[in-house]
Symmetry: C2
Subunit: 192 residues, 2 copies
Amino acid sequence: MEASQQGRALRSDAERTVRTILEAAERVLSKNPSASMEQIAEAAGVARTTVHRRFASRDALVSAMEGWATRQFAAAVDSANPETTPPLVALYQVTASVLRVKIDWGFAMSRASSDPEVARVHSEVEDRCERLFLKAQATGLLRADVDPAWARRVYYALIHEAAQSQGDDADTLATLLVDTLLRGVGTDRGLG
Amino acid sequence: MEASQQGRALRSDAERTVRTILEAAERVLSKNPSASMEQIAEAAGVARTTVHRRFASRDALVSAMEGWATRQFAAAVDSANPETTPPLVALYQVTASVLRVKIDWGFAMSRASSDPEVARVHSEVEDRCERLFLKAQATGLLRADVDPAWARRVYYALIHEAAQSQGDDADTLATLLVDTLLRGVGTDRGLG
DNA sequence: CAGAGTTGCAACACTGATGTTGCAAGTGCT
DNA sequence: AGCACTTGCAACATCAGTGTTGCAACTCTG
């Protein structure tokens, strides 16, 4: 084999390999959830055996992706301080933060994990989001005649859609998203 | 084997089997896109070999699902006459009609088919939808400052989300969906 | 009742993906 | 240079899913 492709040994290098594989796996699996380990390895620029050395099984790899993405996810929500700012501000901040993560880790984030810790974090975020929407309705940001559960589903759907965008930065998308969520895309003057 | 499980022969029966398999496949694959033929057969209440007799391969089965769903889809859009009614009416009618199909054929409908005929129908519907949104903007139903492409993406996302609902009928969902699309979920009075 | 048609079941071959191992070779640290 | 570590590669075993076939059994029609 050639020198340039050979191992550079030691821990920091191994960690870099792990990250490279995780990122490649996200890229490949988001396009094709049933892609093979071979395809993932190829995308990461390593041999398939290297992937298996780092992750005992396919499940272990996916679990690691979920774990990594979930930590980023939780950190993103935390950084937005949704409990201590006005609902509109919180909504915007959470949206922008989450989008930054979801754009890069869409596959890993939108999986019902079997890992209890990951599931716990997800349902925790779910709860915080629910509380945010209830508060938003109580303060009059959300219409009183709208089911907050539906509003939340719409919000998730918009996040998912916005995260598919290429080229726009998270802040631009968050602005557009929150505007669309709250005002819709129609005028107020009824029938066209 | 027992009598009650045995074949009842003849053509109308064979057709019923095909339909049963298609419906079971949709049910199973919408929950797990990589489910096996065995699982599909079990859900349909037939032996795996029977599925293989009716559909030469897994691809053939999925293609048949796409074909069936696409025909329903095209018929649904046609029945709504989106070109000959005011945009708001068209939007509502199309939404209700499409939801009726998408609730039952969500998996088969949201796949980029390799069958050129299916792909053609899909892009045709896409075009009609695009024209509808442009018209909606021209007539003032959509705000002038909203990118119609974004509005359409939001619309698709809402359709997808609404189609996941259980228990509500298509008309109720269409009303809710169009209302949310045009007005959003917020009040007009800004910060809460 | 006879024949056509369909099904379930068991058995088989084939394929692609998964996971493992041994070995040679390269890199960085000491 | 020697050591620790990691990688690529080739080879292998295993397994699950796919697709095929032969056969017996059943039902419906005529």
